[in-house]
Every structure is written in structure tokens, then in C-alpha cells.
């Protein structure tokens, strides 16, 4: 599994960073970025799904 953030759609609600700081970081302007290449270790798959399901802007994509 991998996660992606569409930086044009992201408005910096920071829900992903709060839910899964292992997978997402935020820059100085509050925009989300994935950590590393966005690959999700098996034990973090639930957290990745939770982050996706809580992004108000639908900016997170999960690729399986």
C-alpha cells in the first residue's frame, strides 16, 4: 500500500498529520507531504485508511 497527497487540493487541515505522523508531515505553510516515498508498512495500513477517511478536502489517495 502507498499514500499520496494531492498538494493542490490539500488546504492544510492537518488531520492526516495528527492521525498518522508516521506517514505524513507538514511543511512551514501547513501543507501535507508524505514521508519518504509514501509506502505504508502493513501495521500502519489502518492508520493510512483513517487518515484518508478524515481528510475534508479528499486530498489523500490510497494506492493498493
Amino acid at each position: 500500500m502507498r499514500v499520496e497527497v494531492d498538494t493542490d487540493t490539500c488546504q492544510g487541515h492537518n488531520r492526516c498529520f495528527t492521525i498518522a505522523p508516521e506517514l505524513f508531515d507538514v511543511d512551514d505553510f501547513g501543507t501535507a507531504v508524505v514521508i519518504g516515498d509514501g509506502s505504508v508498512p502493513a501495521e500502519l495500513e489502518d492508520k493510512a485508511r483513517l487518515a484518508e477517511a478524515n481528510c475534508p478536502e479528499f486530498a489523500i489517495k490510497i494506492i493498493e
Binding site: Q11, G12, H13, N14, R15, D28, A53, N54, P56, E57
Partner: protein, 413 residues
Amino acid sequence: MTDIDDTHTDLYGPVTDWANDFDHAVPEYNERAHEIWAEFQATECPMARSERYSGLWAPFSHEFVHEIAYDTDHFTSQGVVVNTGRPMIEAPAVGPAPPITSDPPFHNIARRLLLPPFAPKVIAEWEPEVRRLCNDLLDRMGDITDGESIVDGATQYAQSIPVNVIARMLGFPTEDEELFRGFVHDVLERINEPVEERMQFMGLLDAYLDEQITDHRNNPRDDLTTYLMNVEIDGNKLSHEHVRGSIVLLLIAGIDTTWSAIGSSLWHLGTHPDDLSRLATDPEVMTFALEEFLRAYAPVTMARLVKEDHDFHGCPMKANDWVLLPFPAANRDPAQFERATEFVIDRQVNRHGAFGLGIHRCLGSNLARLELKVAIEEFVARFPSFTVDGDVTWSVGQIRGPRRLPLRVLATS
């Protein structure tokens, strides 16, 4: 502590036909908001209209609110608080309070200036200060006798938190708390008063801020006001009006809103003992509870102006009509949320729009979340059991929250 006078000139009188003679600024609206939204969401057309304010529309479905918030081609942010007047036709592109009153492309420039001081990691550093402030307020409530003492969760607590935090961030004298509260009240709640009076309120606020900016010019210090005075766009510092407009926005956008969110959350806990005891015994649930407070009791409804005559799903909107963006109603739309009208303290999937949707997403959301979380944590830590006891008064206008919230303390830790 002075009481805020909630009486206002009832320009248009009470509403009997919510669908065709809608008015969000009659006291009944905020008192019965949840019922009114549910009624609209159950009908074919989730859109109210009104000739009040020379033309006003109010959509109540998540779909419509989302669509309008994203559509900056047909709707402008030059006016975001509904009133009887209209902004100047030839208003500068920035609007009076950038970035909230700005449209693309200027919006992004004004917004980027303010993002860094409100970024998550910068705001996180304020946590100990906010915690201390909350405890000070709790201490100041004096001797409490369980089962007997009544404290006001709005005036003795919620109201003072954002005012003090933003004043500290801006580097303004904290003694001016009363003054701020008055300004915010005048600009946000007395919307039904004549335009001339509203201009007068704004004049008083501007004069106060001119004084503060001059003081910062003479004595620069490490705070948000100094940051705004030094920050540059393309090598140019901001004009005095831009600095002042941004401060006006931070005062107005940050105070009433957060105070209302804290107050509504305390109201919920004071009327739902199961949720209160869950929070008191299982503090970990706060991660989810925080977002559920924001969803179920979102305090902020914004507005837009229609740019040109526009057919919106069959609604004949006219240039310069107001359109409300009731994010709080969108947050309770059963088409978007499961168990939409229930408060589910550990709700896992919660794509709420309490902080807006699209390019104007609340710049202060990280600060607001911090204040709300810490305020509730400290209140519940001090008073693990309390109940609403007495008459609750709700605000009037686009920001919804309790203005008087008598709470009987049942247990002190």
C-alpha cells in the same frame, strides 16, 4: 466582568416562513438551529431564500455548501458577514481584511504570509501557556462547593481564553481584554444596526489598532504584530492598512469563534453525563472527541456575495445577493455523515468542515484546536462532573455558541 448586551435592533422581525423569509440573525435561529437544518435536509430543496438584507440565500446540504465554497468564479468573499449594506463596488482586490475578504489570485499571496506563524509545529509551542491560562481561570472561580456552586462556563471561562491567547500572540496589553470583547461583539453580533453605526464601531477598532502598531514601530518585539510589520511581498513590506486589516481579521476570526466552540462543547458535556464521564475516565478519547465537538457544534457560518446573476441548481441568484455558507449544517447532513444528528464521542470517520472547505480553510485551525482541546481537558480535569443548571443564552448571528452557560459543579478533583 461586564455583561455583553445581547439585545439588538430587530430590523426585520421574527421569522415564520423559514424557506422564503429566512433570517439567521433572529434569536430563534441559533436556539433551534439543529431542528431547522434537519427540516431543510429532509425536504427536496435544501435552500432557504429571503428578501431580507436585500437578498439572501442559505443552503443546508453538504453538497451545496461544498460546491459554493469551492466556486470562487461565481461567489466573492468581498463580504463574509451578512449585513444591510454592501462593500464598495470599487473595493480594492484585497478586501477590507485580507485574506478572508480576498479572492484569487490575491488571496493566496495574503494567505501565505499568515500561514507560517499558524503552522502546526509553531502553534504546538503555545500549549503550556494555554494550559496555564485555563488553570488561572479555574482558580479564579474561587471556592467551589460540590453540588452547590454554579459557575458560568461561557463568561467565566470560554470567553477569556481566545482573547488572552491572541492578545499575547499579537503583543497587545492583556488588560485590554474587555475592549476586544466589545469590538468583536459590535462587529459580529450587531449586524442589524444601521450602516452608519457599524462604520462607527469599525472606526473605534481601527483607532485602537493604529495606536498598537505605532507602539510596535517604536518598540519592535518578537510577536505577531512585529512579524506582520516586517514580512514582505516581493520585497515590499505590507501597507499600514494591510497590517491593520490582518490584525482585525485575527481578532475577529479568532475570538468569538473559539469561545463559541469551547462553550458549546461544555454545554454538550453538561447535558450528556455519559459523554462527560467517558472523557473524565478515558482522556485518550479526546483525539476523536475533539473532532466530534467540532463537527456537531461547529460555530462558524460564513457568507459570500453573488458576483453576477447566476442560476444555482434552479435558484435564480442575483448579483450582490448574499449566500450563507452554514458549515455547521453541512456537518450534520445525513447524506454525508452516518448518524449525523448524534454525537458519537469516538467517531472514527469524520470529514467535517467546521474550519471551512477550499482555499479559505481556517488559518487559525491549529490554534483553535489547541485551545479547544486544552480548555476542555483542564475543565474536565478540575470538574469531572457538572450539569447545565439555569437559563442558557445563545449568541445571535453567524457565530453560534452559548453566551451564558450556568453549570452546577457536582464534583471537584
